[in-house]
Amino acid sequence: MVNPVDLSVRLGPLELRNPVIAASGCFGYGVEYAGVVDLATLGGVAVKGLFLTEREGHPPERIVETPSGMVNAIGLQGIGVHRFIREKMPELRDRGATVLVNICGSTLDEYVELARILSDVEGVAALELNISCPNIKEGGITFGCSLPGTHQVVSAVRRVTPLPVIPKLTPNVTDVAAFARAAEDAGADAVSLVNTFLAMVIDVETRRPELSNVVGGLSGPAIRPIAVRMVYECRQAVKIPVIGMGGIASARDAIEFFIAGASAIQIGTANFVDPFIWGKVLSGIAEYMTRHSIARISDLVGTLDTTAREQQWTSS
């Protein structure tokens, strides 16, 4: 018999029924998965990155597998915010999904416009600002890779929306914690990290790049230790909640992020491998909490014990 455990989390103004969120770009618009998982049982659904208008994306090849990971350059193919609101939001609402809309712009004005439009849409729970996509040249990342840029885009969006604002940070910087601080200063309600790591794979027989875009973003278990470290650093640097992700493929992996300081987590690549992962991770977290007598998931967040190992060393 599993004791009831409290998995609900509060990320500033955003309340989630549990801390497990589907990562943007890895779960379509959510509705694709409605036949596989009850969307209402997820903590949240971060939908595929949306621009103001439709985008075609890059030509294939768009993904290539690497040791314990994959590199993608999808190029943010998407239906644009208006079609999303018309065609996908009603079903997401009907199914009780907590929707985090991942937004991307080429300019500051586009982010602001997207935030304005989405603020009036029933059922949108939060905005995740994608300022970290490594796969498109014309924007987003130019904000995400500069401290003033990050501050600028977050504060501009903050001014026009009552929705929770969650900038998604890129790991392709020297000091990710400084970016979390810039986001916090600009009024972010939380930060999420990490997006993918810039990467590249070459077919040595043909000497051609495996991806049409030449470079792409690395995700999956291969990046997990780096992501854990970055979440840990951000947790030290800011007071706002941190949403952690990068290579999570099991309850154990999720718990590692909670201990490092993530208040909630997202799962991306592992959903491709096992679309039924959600129930397994949630029950695994509950089982762990029961085993460790942890009543509320928030009691686990940021509980890294750095003293134990030092004592072991001195005593040996």
Binding site: D6, V36, P67, S68, N72, I74, Q77, G220, K280
Partner: protein, 297 residues
Amino acid sequence: MLSVFSVVNQKYHRSPNHEITKCPYTSLVVVDVDAEVVANTRLSADYNVIALAAPAIASDVKPGQFVMVRVGTGSDPLLRRPFSVFEILRDERGRATAITLLNKRVGVGTRLLFKMERGHVVPVLGPLGRPFEPVEPPIRAWLVAGGVGLAPFATLAETLRTRAVDVTLFYGGRSATDLFYVDWFQRLGVRTVLTTEDGTQGERGRVTLPLERALRSIDREQPIMMYACGPEPMLEAVAHLARRFDRPSQVSVERVMGCGLGGCYSCVIRVRQHHGGSHFVRSCIGGPVFRGDEIVW
């Protein structure tokens, strides 16, 4: 808010609310079966047929649909691999118990499937994708297979023959050692036309040679449907022949697939839009079967 989660030990995971799922393309019920390998038959140095106990998929799958197989155990290889369902195996009472895959060794994952032993358990997700639309008599069915593209045609031929459709299989391979199950199709009452690139069996050359001749000689009044699966250049050639002779076609495309469920946008193919122009469609849910004239080659 309190939540209780209990671990449910089930052999496969079933979608929780499939009755309200309204996806026009994918199967209503997608399951992930821990399937035991019940047989692995080598056909040649590169081809094998692997039988997987998966009643929930076997009883539901339609010709042309595919499964995503988790070939490795750890995280390398990480992603599942897509495979057409080749045969549906039944027990003595006629219940579907297993599926087989026709596997061609090309890389790390297919190599694992090639040497996988009986008793091994592999997660198999399916059935997935938009199936072929089988025709009825008096329409004749012409199946055009290149190499491992034979895979979806065993179940399609069975369905068509059950409907008493006149079926011809145009089947091409590199060499005689690359052609399999020819007598299986013949026993079903399927006419077979074989080609090999080296001339070791059937006509020498590409499979589109006898196909083009047949298109030229058949009575204009006789309706036919062409079904094609194989390398993309072959699909393109078949679609062009279909257009030239003003015949309908259905082609099954193969793209690198990360998820098989519409989640990743890796598997896109350029498809014509009704109002002109074209766009990228996810072939895992919009396909893998398309009308030949839909695709921008």
